[in-house]
Subunit: 338 residues, 2 copies
DNA sequence: AGGGGACACTGAACCGGTTCAGGTTTTCCC
DNA sequence: GGGAAAACCTGAACCGGTTCAGTGTCCCCT
């Protein structure tokens, strides 16, 4: 089990290092018979080329980085990110790329520092970036660092796009939800969104407002932070403050929906009879809750696969492109069944 | 922004590559004055040493691997693994190690292939292994590959341990749970465990059986697979089959507990009045359920930190050690409040 | 004054691959 | 049969760090 090297293989076969390298990489310059001999020997010895040597000479790390910035408390409870990650990993593995993961709290400085480090050390070939922000500094930073990236959840911009990204039609999603509530007879609804610094939240807010306006519905906007407690507090505030209360609440993610549900329960407000609930993310939480919660299913796994695919394409061919996500589907459950 | 190298720094400063290297790595052989000049210049240029070059010459990848093997459906819903991962990442980041993540389905062959690849390519310096199995082939495999590893959830073996690992006193955990149920007046209980191929499940089964026997309680064992549906089916089977039914069910994880809860609801059996429920893992699911579910809190974050710490120690000093986990705590909630 | 050790520094080898320029051999065609 | 093109192969340079052996200086001590 002594460490074999390409020079070792070459000596055993009585040929040069160069030939071995060509043979292993499917490059022209070796006869078929030599190539077979090399491959067979490598197989027989369970030999793999050293990742770092290869990375050094190819100037390619063979890895893609992901920085997950989430509140420590939410980590693990956010099914969306995990499913996304799983989707990403599937595609990367197929493309022989490793996934380098870094978890930081919601701390932009640390995320930034991680990118700078990765770029400086050439430790990853590209990164996947989540949660596009208003005036997001990250695209400019990554450009400056010369680090290829794909922004998951980029805004739908002009053609050609300034950078690679996946786009989602949040207005359409908003319409789906609002229509559903309108059909169920709701005329006064609340929208408990995530922080408006996220571009997608801003688009959702606008989407909900516009579609509701088209139907003459009243919308109360409430900005929160995705946490369980925030959903809880939102409902407490919304239901206490208004003399004419809303009859439905749309939550920006499943956790807040759960918090809201708990608040309703605490207040003795029946769901869906008195107040209906919709979550903008589907997950096991929504399936398990009582009542089960109507939710927008956004297929995070597929989204991850698409985003990773874009990054690999960008790295291989330098092709910058924006791909739009398949439409989300509303899974209707008990929380709006009234 | 042209790629600087150590040779470039050396030329700018009019000294040799070697001196620059010594200065950067805190090695003796350079004067304080020179060291400062080097560090200042590196700082000024935002320069970092190339990870692959460093990895090649040091024969150290600077990364640790984790293979997450879970059913795709469960991915993201298993808060335990994610919290564990978060804990691991914290420690690795502090030790300047990257985390390389690979997700595979429950497919031992793929996990094995990943380790072989990582070892052959020297892509990671060590791995963290989860879920110790009966006759687990992985320790032997990793030993053969010369890949340092830490087994999270290793059995409590003799001194000195055969390999590094974290150990949990599952018998004590079992005792905590059984005592709680006994105190609440239960005399016939069921234990819906995960697959017995996991060592920790086997130990839990034995622990529950022994402690229950000590109190003259009856235990019905039921082996399941951690999935939501499995918990559901377990309850259906357990409550239908027995003419004298159990009054409490202990579930091996939170998902199955949720499934069981749904089954009770479907059967019109009240919880905790007719049947009490305990989950062996605490998570948001348990907090959110109605009724909220009594659960054993095992601090996955801490466990991850400890395991990662063991691995770093192993890599640094070669020290093989087993560390036992802090005791778990039972969080009593409504599901056993009757 | 001279011997010896500590210290600062350097050139060159090395880690294990990839790749280029050039050298041989084979093949093909007139 | 001879010349050109194609196919195969090789030595050496290179990627960007680390590290060893050795050179030169300076200082201290007897």
């Amino acid at each position: 089990m002594a460490k074999e090297t390409i020079a070792g293989l070459a000596k055993r076969l009585g040929i040069s290092k160069a030939s071995v390298s060509y043979a292993l990489n499917g490059q022209p310059g070796v006869s078929e018979v030599t190539r077979r001999r090399v491959l067979d020997l490598a197989e027989e010895l369970d030999w793999y080329p050293s990742a770092s040597a290869r990375a050094l000479s190819r100037s390619r790390a063979g890895a893609v980085g992901v920085v997950l910035s989430a509140d420590p408390l939410l980590i693990g409870t956010e099914p969306y990110s995990m499913a996304l990650l799983a989707g990403i990993e599937t595609v990367l593995a197929e493309g022989d790329m490793a996934l380098m993961l870094r978890m930081v709290g919601r701390d932009p400085a640390q995320e930034r520092a991680t990118y700078e480090r990765w770029a400086g050390e050439r430790k990853v070939d590209g990164v996947l970036v989540f949660d596009h922000l208003l005036d997001d500094p990250r695209p400019a930073l990554l450009d400056r660092l010369g680090m290829p990236f794909v922004l998951h959840g980029a805004p739908e911009t002009g053609v050609p796009p300034a950078f690679s990204g996946t786009t989602t039609d949040h207005a359409a999603d908003a319409a789906t939800i609002v229509e559903h509530l309108h059909d169920a007879g709701h005329r006064r609804i609340a929208h408990v969104s995530g922080p408006h610094r996220f571009v997608h939240e801003e688009e959702r807010v606008r989407g909900v407002r516009e579609r509701a306006a088209a139907h003459g519905m009243v919308v109360v906007q409430y900005e929160a932070d995705y946490a369980l407690l925030a959903g809880h507090d939102a409902v407490m505030t919304l239901l206490r403050a208004r003399e004419e209360p809303v009859t439905a609440v749309v939550f920006g993610n499943d956790l807040m929906a759960m918090g809201g549900l708990l608040a309703l329960r605490g207040l003795g407000v029946r769901c869906p009879d008195d107040v209906a609930i919709v979550s903008w993310d589907d997950s096991l939480h929504c399936r398990l809750a009582s009542p089960s919660v109507t939710a927008l299913s956004r297929n995070p796994g597929t989204q991850g696969r698409v985003a990773a695919g874009l990054l690999l394409a960008l790295l291989d061919t330098g092709l910058v492109q924006a791909e739009s996500m398949p439409h989300s589907e509303l899974v209707v459950r008990s929380s709006t069944a009234g």
